[in-house]
């Protein structure tokens, strides 16, 4: 399997999922390419494109909550941050993702 075509395929499928949820791919192209590449690597290894910034715990119920795009499982936190944890997706109104704070759930009134 080649990486580049798979990255494009993941992008195609993810866009259709995250768009209706109010998210888009980060405008930081370098970060987007890097994260998608990591997901392709994880998918080749595990058969599933897990979030590249989260540990796989071998606990199926928990691991399924970090399958990209994991927005539905962590929606409140991501909405507060205007981005997902790894930064692959940001709210549609975000133009400069580097200015978004990364705060733990308790700092945004969660958990």
């Amino acid at each position: 399997m080649e990486t580049e075509p798979r990255k494009k395929a993941l992008q195609y499928f993810f866009e259709k999922i995250v768009g209706p949820m109010g998210f888009k791919f980060t405008p930081d192209e370098e970060l987007k390419e890097f994260l998608l590449e990591q997901e392709v690597t994880l998918e080749a290894k595990h058969g599933i494109p897990f979030c590249p910034c989260q540990p796989i715990r071998r606990d199926r119920a928990r691991d399924m909550q970090i399958v990209c795009p994991c927005i539905p499982f962590h929606r409140e936190h991501f909405d507060a941050l205007k981005r997902c944890w790894c930064g692959l997706f940001v709210h549609k109104d975000v133009t400069d993702p580097n200015r978004l704070p990364q705060l733990p759930p308790k700092d945004v009134g969660l958990g």
């Binding site: 399997m1 075509p5 395929a9 195609y12 499928f13 998918e43 595990h46 058969g47």
Partner: protein, 132 residues
């Protein structure tokens, strides 16, 4: 001398996003209607030979209905291998569990190959496919 094309199917026989199998020159070919652009691919999945027209076509990506291997219908390139079996939290009966383990062991050895594509063109309401 130019490539020989064969009449495969009428354009109005497949709705956009649909697929249909035809036999051309003794070979099974799936015609894919990707939003009005037609592509022709080999029928058999590059993973375990399942009939691809029984899967789904999304954009220019076909997903096999058997193990969800994906292919680009423009190039035939394999985009992903099979997805892992999902048994959720259910524990299957021991005999079934043993069988599934054996199948999984064998499937680990199966490489997903790219599939063959054929050139297409549309003429007078027909999709023509380069002779396979």
């Amino acid at each position: 001398m130019g490539e020989e094309f064969l009449r495969a199917i009428r354009t109005d026989e497949i709705a956009p996003g649909g697929m249909k199998t035809v036999e051309l020159n003794g070979r099974e070919v799936v015609i894919c209607n990707c939003g009005g652009t037609y592509f022709a691919i080999q029928r058999r999945c590059g993973h375990m030979n399942a009939p691809l027209e029984m899967g789904t076509l999304d954009g220019k990506i076909v997903t096999c209905g058997m193990h969800c291997a994906q292919f680009d219908v423009m190039t035939g390139g394999a985009l992903s291998g099979p997805v892992p079996a999902d048994l959720g939290n259910e524990t299957p009966p021991p005999r079934i569990a043993t069988m599934l383990r054996n199948v999984a062991l064998q499937m680990q050895q199966v490489r997903t190959e790219s599939i063959r594509t054929y050139e297409t063109k549309v003429e007078a309401g027909w999709v023509l496919v380069a002779k396979p």
